[in-house]
């Protein structure tokens, strides 16, 4: 069963607003693929195009190598899990799960057997007779999954289905979704604005912004090798220092940053001397200067403004003395103990852990959020990705 999904130059325009810029992409059969982006980036539009609720202005969607042009929603080999689940409240759990089979003319006994199998799969065995209203949030989630799987889709589309759950349950359901995906081998296409979700579950992630796919890669690559400023700031946290390229050699780029002088990092995109670029250093890659201690390290002097305790870590917010920009630094407990707001400290980073990306005027995530770069705190991210390395 070929569950591959190919977007062939898909464009979506509403009147004079372009929701999806020309987009081509191949999602492999059996892959857990996520579209990650802030609200309004076009990811839900893309999902609606794949499911057939919207017809693209131009381009084609191919599922299992068959063109979906002119194929209505109810004849596509896809099934959707809605953000609000959209379980049928007037039907029992059985009736919900069996609905798609009933539509296909499957007889009663086979329907019931299939529903029981699916209820076992989602660990809800024996709940078939209950009304939907008697279920908890997590159980409703499972029924929605079972209902969608009942029609044996080649592709399962998930529209932020976990967003209504509390943190603990959400983390649990993540693992469960991943396990179900492995067990069934169905292609999962997952839409989310929560990078923690996308990184934790996906085989590959497409980061979207303003109707455009910024980068498609596996989670590790996205985190360590972002290709655009948007990806660097949207996936995980990052400190952005803008300047101009001085030289570019052996995969290493050096920038001249006003007030800070020459700083370098790995070059992450096409760079040429004289062009604007930005250096991205993650909070966990910055450390107190004595901890770095090597000649390779680059130094920054900053004034500590806030210290927030986060269990094993402390997040510092500090203002660079030279440029008045705010940077965020993640430090381990030992180092964090001695730091107090009001102190001045020197921070360093290993250039191998920083990346330089061309600043082509494309929006970074922060600019899109209407914030000046690093001038204020990032939106709350309860699932900050902290690599163990």
């Amino acid at each position: 069963m070929d569950g591959s999904v190919i977007l062939d130059n898909v464009v979506m325009r509403f009147d004079d607003f372009t929701a999806i810029e020309p987009t081509s992409l191949e999602i492999r059969s059996g892959e857990f693929f996520s579209f990650l982006g802030p609200s309004g980036c076009g990811k839900t539009t893309l999902l609606n195009i794949i499911s057939g609720f919207l017809s693209p202005t131009d381009g084609d969607v191919r599922i299992g190598n068959a063109s979906m042009r002119g194929v209505p929603v109810n004849h596509r080999p896809t099934a959707m899990i809605f953000q609000n689940l959209a379980l049928f409240p007037l039907m029992s759990v059985y009736q919900n799960i069996e609905f798609g089979l009933e539509v296909r003319g499957v007889d009663r006994a086979t329907r019931r057997r299939k529903a029981d199998e699916l209820l076992e799969l989602v660990a809800l065995g024996g709940s078939g007779g209950k009304p939907v209203s008697a279920l908890s949030g997590g159980q409703k989630q499972r029924v929605a999954i079972a209902r969608a799987l009942a029609v044996e889709p080649r592709v399962l589309l998930l529209d932020e289905p976990l967003s209504a759950l509390d943190l603990k349950l959400r983390q649990h359901m993540r693992n469960e979704l991943k396990a179900i995906q492995r067990k069934t081998g169905i292609t999962f296409i997952y839409i989310t604005h929560d990078q923690g979700e996308a990184l934790a579950m996906s085989d590959r992630v497409a980061v979207m912004s303003a109707g455009r796919i910024q980068q498609v890669a596996d989670p590790e690559t996205l985190y360590h090798r972002p290709q655009t400023g948007f990806v660097a700031t949207f996936v995980g946290e990052n400190n952005r220092l803008a300047g101009r390229v001085i030289e570019c050699r052996d995969g290493r780029a050096t920038l001249d940053i006003p007030g800070l002088g020459r700083l370098s990092g790995r070059s992450g995109s096409e760079l040429s001397p004289g062009r604007p670029a930005a250096l991205f250093v993650r909070p966990e890659s910055l450390s107190l200067s004595d901890a770095v201690g090597s000649a390779a390290a680059s130094m920054l002097e900053a004034h500590i403004e806030t210290v927030s305790f986060e269990g094993a870590w402390r997040m510092l917010e500090a203002r660079l003395i030279a440029t008045r920009e705010t940077v965020r630094i993640l430090v381990g407990q030992g180092a964090g103990d001695v730091l107090q707001p009001g102190q001045t400290a020197r921070f360093g980073y290993d250039p191998d852990n920083a990346i330089v990306l061309a600043d082509d005027g494309a929006p970074t995530h922060d600019a899109e959020m209407g914030e000046t770069p690093r001038a204020s705190s990032q939106p709350a991210q309860e699932n900050r990705h902290v690599p163990s390395a």
């Binding site: 499911s51 609720f53 209505p72 929603v73 109810n74 004849h75 896809t78 099934a79 959707m80 809605f82 953000q83 609000n84 959209a86 379980l87 049928f88 007037l90 609905f99 798609g100 539509v103 296909r104 209902r147 969608a148 029609v151």
Partner: protein
Amino acid sequence: MFRQLKARFGVPVAMAIVGILGVWLIAMVTLPQLQMIDYSFRPSLLPAEIGGPKDGWTLANYVTLFNNDIHLSIFFKTLWSSVFVTLLTLLVSYPLAYYLAKIATPGQAALCLLLLIVPFWINEILRTFSWFILLAFRGPLNEILLSLGLIERPIRFLNGDTGVLVGMVYAYLLFMVFPLYNAIESLDGNQIRAARDLGAGSLRTHWRIVIPHAKPGIATGCIMTFMLAAGSYAVPALLGSPGSRWFTQIIYNWFFEGGDWNQGAAYAFLLLILCIGFMALVMRLFKVGLADIAK
């Protein structure tokens, strides 16, 4: 209720509100109805005989209906025709209400609702008369059908029940559209999308998802339309022919032409019992309670 009003407005205002409501309900609704029930169980007498030996309670006025074949057939004809009007109105209103609630943009919906409501600013008699003109033997509808070649000679729409049915569907359309619209509007659009996504065609989506959700609205609309249709006087009087008389016309005749209020009251109560019976039946059929309908 009194306690809540007292807490909110204080004793004097609360007492005034409850008092006015009580006077209105008792003096202007309940007592006249009781008076009519009393009338219906007494013989029609000359003023001088009232309170005399001939005066007393009797079922004679109710028995009259069952001894008069013509009246009885009109009684049941009114029942069936009203059911038919109700179903026809439902059939016309459902697509309209669905369009307004789920397909139209807010602007389109507002425009449509306005266009639906504006004719109702005109008196019902005048609206019914305009249908009289439209449906007349030499009226515009016949002219159009003739000029399109769909018919060879004009149809006498006003001769049988056609005119009455058309007039009633039109007159009571809004009483069906609004409860339906309210019910369908509250349906989460994702429910419809989910049904489609699971493979259901549009007929099945309506049958399994939209209609079950809209059931209280359908019941409300049906009850209102049936009550209005069964109790209608102007439409059958203007658009009907002698062959399509409505039971209300017979009641009217007892009161104002026969001058027999007692007989008229008995007939009116039989019609009321019919309507209540229908309402109970619909509520049982749709498995809805009074609370669902009041929503």
